[in-house]
């Protein structure tokens, strides 16, 4: 049952990820990426991380992809549609990506470290409460640093996107 759902979500996410890379029109890429994020959030549910699944949908699908679509709407992408996918000279990069993929696949498949079928420990209920306690008690400093980084990014984005004369 779990495995069937995992195979379904994994297949759809890989197909949509390929669509992101292969589609000529950036709008199609953005919509395929949205579908891919939804599949990944379903995989987070399978991994017993419902909080992360909701965060994934809120932040990625709700905020980041809408930002992408707004930017695509603002700029002219008709020129980009006409580009060819592989304009030559990309063979070294293709070989590099292929080697990287084969290396990682061989490492994962040949190692017995990843063949754990069952979780080592089973957690009791009320996971989100434990997660938030850990986040706000032991990881308070990184949390505050992340909020400062978000504020700096907000100010930086406004300054960058502003017109020079304004």
């Amino acid at each position: 049952m779990d495995q069937g759902f995992f195979l379904l979500f994994a297949t759809v996410s890989v197909v949509t990820a390929l669509t992101v890379v292969l589609a000529r029109n950036p709008v199609h890429s953005a919509l395929a990426l949205m579908a891919c994020f939804l599949q990944i959030s379903a995989i987070f549910v399978l991994l017993e991380a419902p909080f992360l699944a909701v965060i994934q949908i809120f932040v990625y699908v709700g905020a980041i992809m809408v930002l992408f679509l707004f930017v695509i709407m603002m700029i002219d992408v008709r020129e980009a549609v006409l580009q060819r996918f592989l304009p030559g000279g990309n063979l070294p990069a293709l070989v590099l990506v292929g080697l990287l993929g084969v290396e990682m696949l061989v490492l994962v498949l040949s190692s017995d470290r990843f063949s754990v079928a069952e979780p080592v420990t089973t957690r009791g209920g009320d996971e989100i409460r434990q997660l938030s306690t850990t986040l706000f008690a032991n990881y308070l400093l990184p949390f505050e640093a992340a909020s400062v980084i978000l504020l700096a990014a907000l100010v930086g984005a406004i300054v960058l996107a502003r017109k020079e004369s304004g």
């Binding site: 953005a30 017993e48 994934q56 992408f68 590099l96």
Partner: protein, 100 residues
């Protein structure tokens, strides 16, 4: 029960697809979207290992990765809008202003 290496394999496949998008595509928008894909595949690995070893730190790292990604996308799209306003191009190869 889904074995751990299935999740790792999914992360590997998504990472390779995202890396191919970053290295092979010449459109800045698609390069940025492929970066999102890379970060997401790493998140799958974090949460899968955290679940298997009964540790919350995987989920906490994933939360921080998502927060940093949001900041990165905001700054990157701001740079993109400024770039399109000044040079009106979307190709990575045409952006050589910072080249010495």
């Amino acid at each position: 029960m889904v074995p751990l290496w299935w999740y790792i394999l999914l992360g590997v496949v998504l990472f390779v697809i995202g890396a191919a998008g970053v290295l092979l595509r010449r459109n800045i928008l698609v390069v940025l979207m492929s970066l999102e894909l890379l970060l997401n595949s790493v998140n799958i690995n974090f949460i899968a290992f955290g679940r298997t070893y009964g540790d919350f730190r995987g989920q906490i790292f994933a939360i921080f990765v998502i927060a940093i990604t949001a900041a990165e996308v905001a700054v990157a799209l701001g740079i993109l809008v400024a770039l399109v306003r000044n040079k009106s191009t979307l190709k990575v190869d045409d952006v050589t202003m910072m080249k010495g």
